[in-house]
């Protein structure tokens, strides 16, 4: 089997990823600017006693907004495969590997990139020293980005394999929004029925849906949560790439 040079793969990835980003940039720029302004205001009011609660609430809302955007990106890719638009690009010398890698790259740039722009840049702008001085905050940011990467990669894998927009969205909603809620409800029911339930077990189950939750139950598990999300992301990305090379037909 003849192998393409890494150069031609990288060229294909960069052209296709830039094209995907170009198509979605306008929507996400608006989202980032809006979220950035809201978050900056929340950061400023965080100095007053009640402001910290507002900041937490705003952060959670922004996080939810970005998680929804992760679902949207993955389902857009699935839609491209489902409708046959992918054939337009794959009928050129672009390889399947480059096509899938470009979607991964573009999705990660959109989800993790916009997230960084919204939450990290205002922090640096308001108090540049605070970010570097607080190692826990740095770790937390790394963990949050890890979680966004984790969802992006897993939903990209789902989109590529099922090639169905609606199914990808449904899996995304379950995983990101319903899954954690169901886990909590099951936990509450179990505790009501069986009494004391092992907290570690609950954290592990919730951690499947939200790796960050591991560290919420126990701050010492922050590193574990980061390692879990990035490791799973890497493994799943490897699976996607192998699948694209061997089996992706359009």
């Amino acid at each position: 089997m003849r192998r393409l040079s890494p150069g031609s793969h990288l060229r294909g990835v960069s052209i296709q990823a830039a094209y995907i980003l170009g198509r979605y940039t306008r929507h996400y720029t608006t989202l980032v600017v809006l979220a950035g302004i809201i978050y900056s205001v929340a950061l400023l009011v965080a100095v007053v006693p009640a402001g910290l609660d507002i900041l937490m609430g705003v952060s959670a809302l922004i996080m939810l907004g970005y998680l929804a955007s992760v679902i949207q990106i993955a389902s857009s890719m699935a839609s491209e495969l489902e409708s046959g638009e992918a054939l337009l690009y794959l009928s050129t010398p672009l390889s399947r590997l480059s096509y899938v890698s470009s979607w991964l790259l573009a999705s990660l740039s959109i989800s993790a990139g916009t997230f960084m722009l919204t939450l990290v840049i205002p922090l640096i702008a308001i108090d540049p020293g605070a970010l570097l001085a607080q190692k826990d905050l740095l770790k937390f940011i790394l963990a949050v980005i890890g979680e966004v990467v984790y969802y992006t990669v897993i939903l990209t894998a789902v989109g590529i394999i099922v090639k169905k927009r609606n199914l990808t969205s449904a899996v995304g909603f379950f995983m990101l929004l319903l899954g954690p809620m169901i886990s909590v409800i099951v936990f509450v029911i179990l505790e009501a029925v069986a009494g004391n339930v092992d907290g570690d077990l609950v954290a592990s189950v919730l951690g499947i849906f939200h790796p960050l939750v591991l560290s919420q139950f126990d701050p010492d598990k922050m590193i574990g949560s980061i390692m879990y999300s990035y490791t799973v992301s890497l493994i799943v990305a490897g699976i996607i790439i192998q699948y694209a090379r061997r089996s992706l037909e359009v």
């Binding site: 089997m1 393409l4 046959g84 638009e85 054939l87 337009l88 009928s91 050129t92």
Partner: protein, 303 residues
Amino acid sequence: MESVIYFEEVSKVFKNTVALREASFEVPRGSIAGLLGPNGSGKTTSIKLALGTLRPSSGLVLVRGMEPWRDPDARQGVGFLPESPVYPRTVRVSQLLEHIAKLKGEDWNGAKRAASLVGLDKLLDKPVGSLSRGYLQRLGLALALVGEPELLLLDEPTANLDPNARVEILRLISTIRDMLDATVVVSSHILPELQEIVDYLVIISSGEVLDYGPVEDLAKRYEARMVYHVSTRNPRIVARSLITYHYVEGVMLDTGGLKVYVKSTHHRALEEVLEGLAKDRMIDGYSVATGLLGEIYEAVVSG
């Protein structure tokens, strides 16, 4: 003659459906090949296998000497127009053309050349979603033509078009072929459309390739009528002379001369008569335009 497309015992199975069964055929360089068969016969599958977007379940597919499933470089120099193209509706025509040009290693000038070949140059700033069906098909052709390909794969290029757009697209295909000197593969189930443009046939039915070859050879093999184009400045006199021969089945006035229909079993007799007329300077020359595809197809399918 060198083959641009070569299939050797190629099968493609989708779950429990056999789309193509041990298909073997080749398409020589420089021909306009018609991939002929009813809907669901395996035409689109064959084109996608040649394009490398489907993996053959077994057998060997070569395009320009390369295996397209394994080697994306096989698609360099190949243009493709799908049966039902799906385009991003919000991007501008120019953006899409430029993007495909980049993927093919071409610059904006290459994209512009393709757009002007199909008459899209005035619509470059329009969003793709605003184009009519006829113009969408032109866009598809332009995208296929970016990089001036040496092989064009056109899957039902006139499907879903109104009669006027159909005629325009078929005319465009002929013009493009002459301009680019490319090998063209056109799949269709509409015989009269292919009649005017193809010189080579691959006949598929129920996933099996029944026969393939130059139209002229197939017409002779299956004793279908052949159509000769005779160049003459005295069409009426020549026509009157030709219809006296029992094997001449019809004569029609055509641009610059006549169209003469003859059973392939008598093509040599007709050619002798035409040589005689040429010696007497009654005609300027003649050529085999094509065999009648409908008759060839019927004969091939009925075995």
